[in-house]
């Protein structure tokens, strides 16, 4: 590793700072508007919910491990899969990608904070409140009606099951309001990220020089506006139905259950891209650094990201092939879904081309990245299988679908997130995570992941529907389900090792220094952890890899870029 050039912070706070009391520390974190602290809050909050959602998943898998099982009651089971899905999407995946965005976007474009720091804090706290509200349903939802506790309508909550008649009590209202509020927070943060990117770049940071991570967060932010808002609108309608007696989704009064499906999936499918785009963003930063090469095809990567953003808006009804949209509708959504694999494929080829001929370093972040590439490819292939309408008629709502989208979310997004944790932890905390424990984490998780989700495809092909409570022994799904459940134990062990690594490294990890990976983007030019103001003097950049220019003044990138 070469010597690390860094801007010395003009840090006069240390000397004058008084010893901080525990109350002072709590006060500081509760009232902070610093993008880094809010980013850490987002990530911590998401990790807590990750563990909760993971426990729910484990209970679901124990229930399904053997035929005719009664580990939990059917009612509890319905609540478990509803809460698992809702938690993982809205209170794990969303806050964790926003957390990384919050932390990284300003510092990668050489800014001192987000465009609207107080809006940033507001967005976080309203999202945090939404998560608490969702889980408060376990205590509060019985209410006056004494019916229902946690929401049990499934994470997509199809009408008319959510109508007051079929879901009495308040459990569905907790679900609706929690998602409504978390949506407000998401739109606030997305607005902040987009505005920061467009208005706060340091001198010389033209759009054509921005790190790809920032580009992708820009696209993702734009996507959030047109994705989360429809869901918010639909939740307002559902609330009106349940409280003021309107008839949006009331089939008795001529309302349409189909309309909810459309509104939900207009949100639901682009949402997948809202989550997976940041995973691509992490790959764009990590793969080049550990291949010791500049990213291959920067303009193509930007174009592909923007294309994905637009095309993702026209694929939602591939969730609805079985409702009878007619040949024209089905054909359109089959083709739109297949077309989106083109820009995604461009990205995969560009990552491979970046690695091709590079000096690969197999540190933990790179291991997770390579696993991501492999698994995301398979997830995309099963996605293309499901995009074929006749095939979807056969497999709709089976465990094949469950296996497919978990391959995307766990095999793709979660693996990319783990890579991001190992890569940026030294910057955020100032200490390295343990490589040895990291490799344990990686192998446990890879083995667990493949045991669970590879084998989950097969019962789906054999006809096992999703969201069922249990199944008879003569179906022949028992062995496969047992393997799937065993895989979950490996994954749980992997996550425990990961959490142990996070906590242990905080205290005894090797000091990282500003630039432990010999990387090229601006966040590595300041100390680890960065001072409150990020940069004592705002940097000026002349190329896409400002730190390369700095470390290699004899051969700067700016000589080659247009």
């Amino acid at each position: 590793m070469s010597t690390i050039p860094a801007i010395k912070g003009v840090d006069e706070t240390q000397a004058t700072q008084r010893a901080r009391t525990p109350g002072g520390v709590i006060h500081e974190w509760l009232t902070t508007v610093d993008h880094k602290k809010i980013g850490i809050l987002y990530i911590t909050y998401a990790l807590i919910f990750l563990v909760i959602g993971g426990v729910e998943a484990t209970m679901i898998r124990i229930q399904l491990a053997v035929p005719d099982n009664h580990f939990v009651s059917p009612q509890v089971y319905n609540r478990l899969f509803t809460m698992h899905g809702t938690t993982m999407i809205f209170f794990v995946a969303m806050p964790i990608v926003f957390g990384f965005g919050n932390y990284l976007v300003p510092i990668m474009i050489g800014a001192r904070d987000m465009a609207f720091p107080r809006l940033n804090a507001f967005s976080f706290w309203i999202s945090a409140f939404a998560g608490v509200l969702l889980y408060f349903s376990y205590l509060g939802a019985s209410g006056l009606y004494a019916a229902g506790s946690a929401p049990d309508v499934g994470w997509f909550a199809y009408a008319p099951l959510t109508a007051k008649v079929f879901s009495p009590g308040h459990s569905t209202d907790y679900w609706t309001l929690a998602i409504l509020l978390s949506g407000v927070g998401s739109i606030g943060t997305a607005l902040n990220i987009v505005t920061t990117t467009l208005c706060m770049r340091c001198p010389g940071m033209k759009l054509s020089r921005m790190p790809l991570l920032v580009w992708i967060y820009l696209v993702m932010g734009g996507l959030v506006f047109v994705t989360i808002s429809p869901l918010t609108a639909a939740q307002i309608m559902l609330t009106l139905d349940r409280y003021l007696g309107s008839h949006f989704f009331d089939t008795q009064a001529g309302g349409s259950a189909l309309l909810w499906m459309h509104f939900f999936w207009i949100f639901g499918h682009p949402e997948v891209y809202v989550l997976v785009l940041p995973a691509f963003a992490f790959m764009n930063e990590i793969v080049p650094v550990f291949s010791r090469k500049a990213i291959f095809g920067y303009p193509a990567m930007v174009a592909a990201s923007v294309c994905i953003g637009f095309i993702s808006l026209s694929v939602w009804a591939h969730h609805m092939f079985t409702v009878g949209m007619g040949a024209a509708g089905n054909t359109f959504f089959v083709f739109a879904t297949m077309v989106i694999s083109v820009p995604t494929g461009i990205k995969i080829f560009n990552w491979l081309a970046t690695m091709w001929g590079g000096r690969l370093i197999f540190a933990t972040p790179m291991l997770f990245s390579i696993a991501f590439l492999f698994q995301f490819l398979i997830a995309g292939l099963t996605g293309i299988i499901l995009a074929v309408a006749p095939f979807d008629w056969q497999l709709h709502n089976t465990y094949f679908v469950v296996a497919h989208f978990h391959y995307v979310i766990v095999g793709g997004i979660l693996f990319a997130l783990f890579a991001a944790f190992y890569y940026w932890y030294p910057k955020i905390v100032g200490r390295m995570m343990s490589e040895k424990i990291g490799k344990w984490h990686f192998w446990l998780f890879v083995i667990g992941f493949h045991l669970t989700f590879d084998f989950m495809h097969i019962p789906g092909l054999l006809g096992m529907p999703r969201q069922i409570y249990t199944y008879e022994a003569d179906r022949g799904w028992g062995t496969l389900n047992l393997i799937v459940t065993i895989g979950v134990l490996f994954q749980a062990a992997g996550v425990l090792v990961f959490v142990y690594n996070l906590v242990r490294s905080y205290y005894v990890g090797k000091m990282a220094g500003p630039d432990p990976w010999d990387a090229w983007t601006l966040e590595w030019s300041t100390s680890s952890p960065p001072p409150d103001y990020n940069f004592a003097v705002l940097p000026t950049v002349k190329s896409r890899r400002p730190l390369w220019d700095l470390k290699h003044p004899e051969d700067p990138d700016s000589d080659y870029e247009l």
Binding site: I4, P5, C199, H247, T540
Partner: protein, 200 residues
């Protein structure tokens, strides 16, 4: 870290580095997000046109609110003149046009209130009556709630202006607020077309 060095820093070495004002961009983002919400409500309105199982139907009860619409659309002009006044540091003109905007917006709101009163008490149409009532009140109500938010912000600005707390440094911020108000007006053009012209 011995080479505590520098990224090259020559502020303003080349062309001056300018980026858009964050308020404008933030408001544009908000407008995109809000538009998506309105689109969903408009789609629901159009989707349920003529699907109500019982009456009343739009052509039986709706009257085109011409006066309110003229007031609301005119308020876009007055708010634009107010921005111009502030930009020229003519605070009297600014306050005058701002007050005009608030009054015109309030008249629009009152005309909506009057229309709703008539529909509810004379025609017996509520949110619960049929699909038309459901979608009509939610769409027009969603717009009216945006008018209320805009009026609150404009009135606060007017209060500040009357107490002499607004000056030329606030031009960008007020410009951002005027963007929101233009958006509310633009939405009304669409809602008006869908509800009172196409759907009646």
């Amino acid at each position: 870290m011995s080479s505590a060095s520098t990224l090259p820093m020559q502020p303003g070495a080349q062309a001056p580095w300018t980026q858009p004002y964050r308020g404008t961009v933030g408001m544009a983002c908000l407008i995109i997000a809000e538009s998506a919400i309105f689109i969903i409500f408009i789609v629901a309105y159009i989707f349920y046109l003529g699907k109500s199982l019982t009456g009343p139907t739009p052509d039986q009860v709706l009257e085109v609110p011409i006066f309110g619409t003229i007031c609301l659309l005119s308020s876009s002009i007055t708010v634009h003149l107010a921005v111009g006044g502030l930009r020229k540091v003519n605070l009297r003109a600014f306050t005058f046009w701002l007050a005009g905007t608030v009054i015109l917006g309030t008249i629009f709101l009152l005309s909506t209130a009057q229309e709703w009163y008539r529909l509810i008490y004379e025609r017996g149409l509520t949110l619960q009556t049929n699909l038309f009532g459901t979608t009509y009140y939610s769409l027009v109500g969603l717009h009216a709630s945006h008018v209320i938010v805009g009026l609150i912000m404009l009135s606060l600005t007017l209060l500040f202006a009357l107490f002499g707390r607004v000056n030329e440094h606030h031009i960008e911020k007020f410009d951002t607020l005027s963007l929101y108000w233009h958006f509310v007006d633009g939405v009304w053009v669409v809602v008006f077309t869908v509800v009172y012209l196409v759907g009646r």
